[in-house]
């Protein structure tokens, strides 16, 4: 159980406080409700590039990192399809340092040619390091492109191609900043050894005077898929891989938890179905897992496996389908259900003991619409029964709704 309180400042900034008296630290976490789904299809990768530029300094503080480091702090940020999150962890004696810095870069970011030039290069190197110079590195580029027809989830956060990042202009940066980096589009979490009254007073001091501005959000459609899609690529990789993706419900739908539980039954823990049957018994795969993307809008349920050297690809694919359709005909066992629930409880209890992860989760749940989901999700998961699993498996694991990527080694041609 995580205690917290929430208030909305007159300028629209949502402020959440979580008190933990056992730590000498405080976390200041700022989440902006903007991600790669808000980008133009012809200029992707921008939300993430912009995240890099947020460290360029601001009007009153020419350097963002240095004062935080001098304040014995640690900071970083990440971007995904849905949102951009910045966190600062400092000893509580220095609580005002991140608040001053975050408030200043919310309104007075130092947008300049030099840092854009450098960060474009840095992000291109990040792109190469993680998506080009790595075996299977572009698999998710291909899978998203194939699976989503209209929704901007069809490109990854790093961007569709290097060129989009290279072409970003200073005007793009200014425009994006003005449009999305506004108090009403942000959630500020202050978590740690500071009382609610003190935190609230400081947040009002630093953020209260920021001018309000309305932020518009687009909504996105995605048609229901009616025919199976397949793509095969041949690359310099040592083993054949298969990815099968299905569109699933959005993050707030009650069925989300069922999809989560199904992925756990399939591959969480060494006694799970795919690991035991397809890796250890059948030896068709050397590794295989099922997972969900947990996106705010229509997410993906994905199964990905590395096929054992020499094992027939078609046969391996059939084995995955056998496991998926088995969920249509046979109910999962009570032991499987208990396993998933106990695993989830243990994971939650360990996560709750981590201050930074608690602060980020509070901001994330709030952007979904309800910070108290941090305490409510356990119950939603625990209340799932075996019939739910069967019903939802029948709904999503259908051939016509599948998207299969065969990522094969060149010598197999």
């Amino acid at each position: 159980m995580i205690n917290f309180s929430k208030e909305v400042l007159p300028n629209g900034l949502t402020f959440i406080h979580h008190h933990d008296e056992t730590t000498p630290f405080v976390v200041v976490n700022t989440l902006y409700n903007v991600g790669s789904k808000d980008e133009d299809e012809k200029r992707t990768g921008f939300a993430h590039l912009f995240e890099h530029l947020m460290f360029s300094g601001s009007k009153h503080f020419p350097d963002f990192d240095k004062p935080l480091q001098e304040a014995s702090g640690e900071n970083n940020a990440f971007t995904n399809n849905d949102y951009t999150n910045y966190y600062d962890v400092v000893p509580v004696i220095n609580i005002e340092i991140p608040l001053a810095l975050e408030a200043d870069r919310m309104t007075h970011l130092n947008i300049n040619k030099k840092s854009l030039n450098v960060q474009r290069k840095v992000v291109c190197e990040e792109f190469k390091e993680n998506y080009i110079n790595l075996p299977y590195g572009n698999a998710w580029h291909l899978l998203r492109e194939m699976t989503y027809e209209k929704h901007p989830y069809k490109w990854p956060t790093i961007g569709k191609e290097l060129k989009h990042v290279e072409d970003a202009t200073l005007e793009d940066v200014q425009c994006f900043y003005d449009k999305y980096y506004q108090p009403s589009n942000a959630i500020l979490v202050v978590a740690g050894n500071v009382s609610k009254e003190n935190a609230s007073r400081l947040v009002t001091t630093y953020f209260g005077n920021i001018e309000p501005k309305k932020v518009e959000h687009k909504t996105f459609d995605e048609p229901i898929q009616t025919a199976a899609k397949t793509k095969t690529v041949y690359e310099d990789v040592p083993l054949n891989m298969i990815y099968i993706a299905f569109k699933m419900c959005d993050r707030l739908h009650p069925d989300y938890y069922i999809a989560d539980l199904i992925s756990d039954i399939m591959s969480t823990g060494n006694s799970s179905r795919l690991t035991q049957r397809l890796v250890k018994k059948e030896k068709a795969f050397v590794s295989i897992e099922a997972y969900i993307t947990a996106s705010n809008d229509i997410g993906l349920f994905c199964v990905e496996g590395k096929i054992a050297d020499g094992y027939d690809i078609e046969k391996a694919t059939d084995l995955i389908w056998q496991e998926l359709t088995l969920l249509h005909i046979e109910k999962i066992t009570d032991v499987e259900l208990l396993k998933c629930k106990n695993k989830m409880l243990t994971t939650t209890k360990f996560a709750e003991s981590n201050l930074l992860s608690t602060a980020i989760s509070l901001a994330y749940y709030e952007v979904l619409g309800n910070a108290n989901l941090i305490n409510e999700e356990e119950e939603k998961y625990v209340s799932i029964v075996t019939d739910d699993v069967q019903r939802y498996a029948k709904e999503i694991f259908v051939k016509e709704k599948s998207n299969t990527l065969f990522y094969l080694k060149k010598s197999a041609t």
Binding site: Q69, P135, K349
Partner: protein, 420 residues
């Protein structure tokens, strides 16, 4: 708007752990204070690569600890652990073999029954060994496609020598050679109570301690053999520069480094601060120059990694291929600058405060406290030295740091590996 005054961390105090002596001779250390009913229990064995007689013996023995006992087969073991919602991991590194248990209080008793059964009776069924081997070889094939992996293998091989426990390369050949008897031998000689220390962190009261003592205190496996190993001498570096070209690479992986000093050395804490300034954090000279100024890389770091018998200082990065030479030149330039110029005081203050924040974090909460205590324990350094280390870091100044750079950043003794 002006920046509020920055406060400096005054005291970093590290609490001592509770100590428990079990009747089988095992010592357990404990840190409590977490709110939730959870525990992490680590069994640390004084073993690892440096006690191997055959390459990969430690890793195989550790990773297959749940491969079946005389009572339960591998699936039954995994199913029980999963049903309790617990996690049991065992792995071997350079310094130790570690078995970690994560569980909720309500399944502590049942989880430990399974763990002790594995530690007493693991049979290492051939079938499980075979599956593990084929998965290991498959993963190796994928790793061998990665430049940073290849660079790391070459670096360790050249620095320590091909037959040294820290230097040998994992190959399909040595994976295939491992036998069931190799694993049973390592298991019976190394994974025994007299070679084990236990670390308990999370939340516990008398009730949990009794359960822990009931299982761990009654674990009585004995060995007839005494573990004797000899570690080869370090080779003299034949070739200081190794460069491998890889077709189709768009980046090059670079590792530069040398053998360094261990925690027990009087210069160690000063060197930690010097490393921080050089390449140990986001504000370091390497990051500021090579990433933030020139945009040649996504990240560049230097680090001191501590092994049981040695320590290694290294600089690592993946850099833009066209500017590989410029990147190398700037790395060496930054080393020379530290030796030839005094570091400005404000730069020292920033790095020192940052580092003290890291040290404060290590004392925050039972899990971090246990991690820190364990690190010192494994390296055989008394935990009371932690507060002294903090003091040493506070006392460093531009002159002492320059002296350390001149003494330890010896480029002619460094090995340089480039893959890409």
């Amino acid at each position: 708007m002006t920046l509020p005054t920055i406060q400096h961390i005054e005291h970093i105090l590290f609490p001592k752990p509770s100590v428990f002596h079990f009747k089988n001779g095992i010592t357990a250390y404990g840190y409590s204070g977490i709110e939730n009913d959870i525990l992490r229990i680590d069994f640390i064995f004084n073993a690892g690569r440096w006690t191997e007689k055959i390459p990969l013996q430690a890793e195989f023995t550790a990773r297959l600890i749940k491969s079946g006992t005389s009572h339960l087969n591998a699936f039954e073991i995994e199913e029980k652990i999963d049903t309790f919602g617990s996690t049991v991991k065992c792995d071997a590194g350079n310094n130790t073999v570690t078995l970690s248990v994560y569980c909720m209080h309500k399944y502590l008793d049942e989880t430990l029954v399974v763990v002790i059964d594995c530690l007493n009776n693991c049979c290492y069924h051939q079938h499980e060994i075979d599956i593990f081997k084929s998965r290991k070889i498959a993963n190796l094939l994928v790793s061998q496609e990665k430049n940073d992996y290849i660079a790391d293998v070459l670096f360790r091989k050249s620095l320590f020598g091909e037959t040294h426990p820290y230097g040998y390369e994992t190959t399909a050949e040595i994976i295939n050679k491992i036998t069931q008897q190799n694993l049973l031998d390592y298991f019976n000689t190394n994974l025994i109570p007299t070679n084990c220390t236990v670390f308990i962190a999370g939340k516990y009261e008398q009730n949990q301690l009794e359960i822990i003592e009931k299982h761990i205190g009654n674990w009585n496996k004995k060995s007839t053999e005494i573990n004797q190993v000899s570690i080869p001498e370090l080779p003299v570096l034949k070739d200081n520069k190794i460069s491998i070209k890889k077709e189709k690479s768009v980046q090059a992986s670079i590792i530069i480094g040398n053998i360094s000093i261990q925690r027990s050395h009087e210069d160690f804490s000063g060197l930690v601060l010097l490393n921080t300034i050089f390449g140990g954090y986001f504000g370091s000279r390497l990051m500021s120059n090579i990433r933030e100024e020139k945009g040649l890389t996504y990240g560049i770091y230097s680090s001191l990694s501590l092994l049981k018998k040695h320590a290694v200082f290294s600089i690592q990065t993946d850099t833009n291929l066209e500017n590989k030479e410029l990147c190398l030149q700037e790395i060496y330039l930054e080393i020379e600058r530290l030796k030839n110029e005094l570091i400005p005081n404000d730069e020292i203050t920033i790095a020192r405060n940052y580092l003290l924040g890291k040290y404060l974090h290590r004392t925050d909460g039972a899990f971090n406290q246990m991690e820190l205590f364990k690190t010192y324990y494994i390296e055989d350094v008394n935990i009371s030295k932690f507060e002294a280390a903090v003091e040493t870091i506070r006392q460093q100044d531009a002159l002492s740091l320059q002296r350390l750079a001149q003494k330890y950043f010896l480029t002619d003794k460094m090995l340089e590996v480039i893959v890409g």
